[in-house]
Subunit: 329 residues, 4 copies
């Protein structure tokens, strides 16, 4: 049980081949707020986020995850994280500071994702017209589109899901919460690690094609399951197809809903779920037929959900449909 070093998933860079369309979608439909813009990048945040930004949209060959940023528990924990990352041989050195946060130490995860840890982060200041009537809110509650409240988690691909899960735990102090094994084969296909009370802030899906640095989806938090159901209507009325959901995962008990932004990245809106504080938690193993993905056990994931989005290649690959190995998901 390694010491917990991270306080939260701080931000994600999403590479999109259509920066303007992705930005409009994130603002108008998903309901994010723009905090800054510079050249090739737009900085966004959910209305309920206190820090400067949580999403960086960057023009490029995508859809892809550019990098994943983790904020540490404090400056001491940043030093410790860098020490461990350097020891792991995966460190790539310091960058920044940049828009919204101080300098960050970058590393390449065993599954090929570019990630970073940092401590200094800028508090966001709402302009007068966005101020909330409540002193504890970073801005007034938004009613625009889905009105996503805050970034929740990212789900990536890894050729070996347990390897990545364990590396995260040992190096950065995530808890390994739950995982799924293919129905009739002893093959781990999905794993969830967490720095917080929920089942995950990082999901790990098997990359059966052995890709590097590919991603599955980026998820935003809504206040409750009823908001996820409302979001489904808002999306459909806005002409956006829903890829999967609203439904509920057995793992973590969360209510989910997946769709795509114009650049091709898969987005989830998400709520509910258990609150688990057991510090020496041992990961729970599921078979798909127990309801790991679909708690109600009657709503198969569509094939399209097996598509990954690659890191910087512009191609859309497949996760190799591991859930369908035995026809169950």
């Amino acid at each position: 049980m390694a010491r917990r070093l991270l306080s939260q998933l701080g931000h994600l860079e999403i590479i999109t081949p259509r920066l303007e369309e992705s930005t409009r979608f994130m603002i108008d439909v998903l309901g994010l707020e723009e905090s800054a813009r510079d050249g090739e990048s737009v900085y966004l945040r959910g209305w309920g986020e206190w820090l400067h930004n949580s999403i960086v949209l960057t023009q490029g060959d995508g859809p892809a995850i550019g990098h994943i940023g983790w904020r540490t528990e404090g400056p001491e924990e940043l030093d410790l994280a860098v020490e461990r990352l350097e020891a792991s041989g995966r460190g790539e050195g310091w960058v920044g500071p940049t828009v919204g946060h101080g300098r960050a130490y970058r590393f390449r995860s065993p599954a090929g994702h570019l990630e970073e840890v940092y401590w200094e982060a800028e508090r966001w200041q709402a302009p007068p017209e966005l101020r909330s009537t409540f002193p504890n809110r970073p801005q007034a509650r938004s009613t625009r589109g889905v009105a996503a409240r805050q970034l929740d988690h990212v789900t990536v691909l890894a050729a070996d899901v347990l390897e990545l899960a364990n590396w995260k735990c040992e190096t950065l102090g995530h808890r390994f919460m739950e995982w799924t094994e293919a129905e009739d084969v002893e093959l781990p296909v999905f794993a969830l690690v967490s720095t917080n009370e929920q089942v995950h802030d990082m999901g790990i899906v098997i990359d059966a094609e052995g890709g590097q640095g590919r991603a599955h989806h980026v998820a935003f938090w809504l206040d409750g399951p009823a908001d996820v159901h409302r979001a489904a209507e808002v999306l459909l009325e806005a002409g956006v197809s829903i890829e999967y959901g609203p439904g509920r995962h057995g793992m973590g008990e969360n209510t989910f809903l997946y769709f795509r932004e114009p650049g091709g990245a898969r987005i989830e809106v998400f709520s509910g779920g258990y609150r688990n504080y057991v510090a020496d938690w041992e990961p729970i193993k599921w078979k798909p037929s127990e309801g790991s993905s679909d708690m109600y056990r009657n709503n198969p994931m569509p094939d399209s959900m097996m598509e990954a989005f690659p890191a910087g290649t512009g191609e859309t690959g497949s996760v190799g449909n591991p859930w369908a190995l035995e026809g169950v998901n």
Copy 2:
């Protein structure tokens, strides 16, 4: 910003003058499960709790909080906590092991509450008839009464609420999240500290009579605000009066509902609320008129909510109605 040492509010001992009635209420109406019983104490847990017990009901002069138990992040954090507690001059030494957890180090808080920190905790094993169909659940979802899922927080009294809040943060690494000042006087009357993502797992109400070790309420978590509203009906249909709520606090954005168990202790069921991961959070100050207690600003707290329950004296005192100083709450 002190290092976070605690993983969760582990358990509370509630002293009741009517052990059997309190126990029946906790099981039949609140929906807790009995995990063990010995002599003067009954050990209970919510259906969603993975550890052995979270409530210890003990016969005695009550209602009162017997002691408050905090589980650390790990064994190293237990050592650190003990070191700091000893340095503070508030340590009272080791006790235990006892039912459900290993040995604990006890201390007396600046407000006179008996508390303890410990690491070793027993995982609860559901008997076959209670097992869940889902591998990540400690037992099947209960439908009995209010069906409280898990212990959430405890709210105590302190003559100086900021002193206690700051002491918790410096000694044990809580975050100081929000506080309320009396309407027209610079008097802090309520403060919230947290070891987790929500606004608090300990609330601190001013003890205007300068009492020691007194308490205000014990709260349990339900999955969502709709469950709190359903609980209100279940309580009324069971003949239990609701003291305050269902309503919503501006502080933390939580949905609340207060009532009394037969021994006299005030119980809350509770849900919703923001998820805040800002590690260097600076506490937010409220005035009651901004909606600190009643987010909707139109539902005054009844006078009865100003009653405290003392530690072991058998008397019910008053918190001195600080909210009513200026006629607003």
Copy 3:
């Protein structure tokens, strides 16, 4: 048990001394849609309404209810209604046709309200940019402000609440569902009559000052209680004070929330509630202490809720605080 003649509360005319401000509020904050405008009147509807309009805002000495329009079950039922109204000596003759509906027969209720019955009504046609992706919706779901779905009910004042309730039932076929008697006096203070499955589409509050034609509030429907709670936040963030609620009435089991529009009329947003189809229902009598107004029995109605708004006088009167006769509501 008189034959049911009415299919729905079709529309309400609200007189406002501030037409432009009331209109902006109804559109921007309450989320209604404008269907037409002519001279002194603006015609509005909720996004989920299939007919042309349900609210007519008219400049004048207000706040007041201008008139109340009931649509019949069909043309035969219109003839029958007119026959009965003429026989009652309360008929005032035909008017119209007008914007959105055909000619209407007007009458003056025993409590002095101007009402009308009509059959012909215009179906509303959404402009292309508002069309829904679902063929059964009159337009796409709105996300503007509170996004009220449809008109629900009107609550008026009457010196004799039972007289008006019974007259409605005998003349127009309402069902008399529930009523409240003052706590320690045999004085009926509130009654609910309905043409539909819910407890009311007309509420009747005692006018202890013996006024004529005065009103209490106009209510709009939201999909569920969670939407009423969301509406409370939307209102507060928009700078609108909440007069009472969100709470739940014992009568009808509905979730409520009251506030004022800029012209002074009290508006409610409202959801939930039982569905009652018992054709020979006998009215249920409540005492306030049983939870008629506040199902949870701990949240007194503020004094301001005792204010009525008169018909065309420009003054705000009082309903005479009948609930407070004995200090309970």
Copy 4:
């Protein structure tokens, strides 16, 4: 537009080959209350129903619908209904009185179902231990199992769905609300008729095999969509498989969940949905791809949902999978 004659779907007789198991399931899992028992039949009602019973479980060759009982708006409407039924040549004469209601006039619908109309109905009297604290409730809110509140609708099969829908409207005054046509063929496969504010109290699925008197499911009402989601967990934890859902129909906007009782009949729990009072409503036509069955357009109905249950034959037939004609549902 025929005069509305019916006030509600009063009761359904379900034939089960396993009376005791079906009864235990209805009481323990679905949460119904037993009101009476005689010989081969058990009489049940939801906790929120004011009349004596809404379900009659009868031992026999099933699963099947024994008969469908409609309560009229009043005694005059009963006379009118009998007159029209006799004129239609489908009348079968008077039966009863029986447990819970007075004499009833039976008829055979064009699709071969045995139905009846009646007026006299017995009000249910709760025994003291079940009485509610609220005067408008027939009994205290139940917390047993799914705690179904009341019977909502029945869905039957018909070789010609439009014929049956139109016959219901012309003869008994239902409104024809919405229907679905097969994706690429002009074949009506599903129709909904209603005596109330919701989209249906009778659904009509095509019987592509040309059967007579077959049924699809029986539905019960829960207070809100959150209760349907909770019901899904309660069912799974009780070992009951969920056939389809929780999901949401585009038609009527209702939240649904289907499963089977031990006798084989398909049961639905159901909530939400629009409230439609347009007396001259013209039926809305859907294509399955517009979301008629699955509002979110991504969750295909499982093949098992194409199974019907026959009237008294003991066999389970098929509805002929009309939705799958073109591979979409």
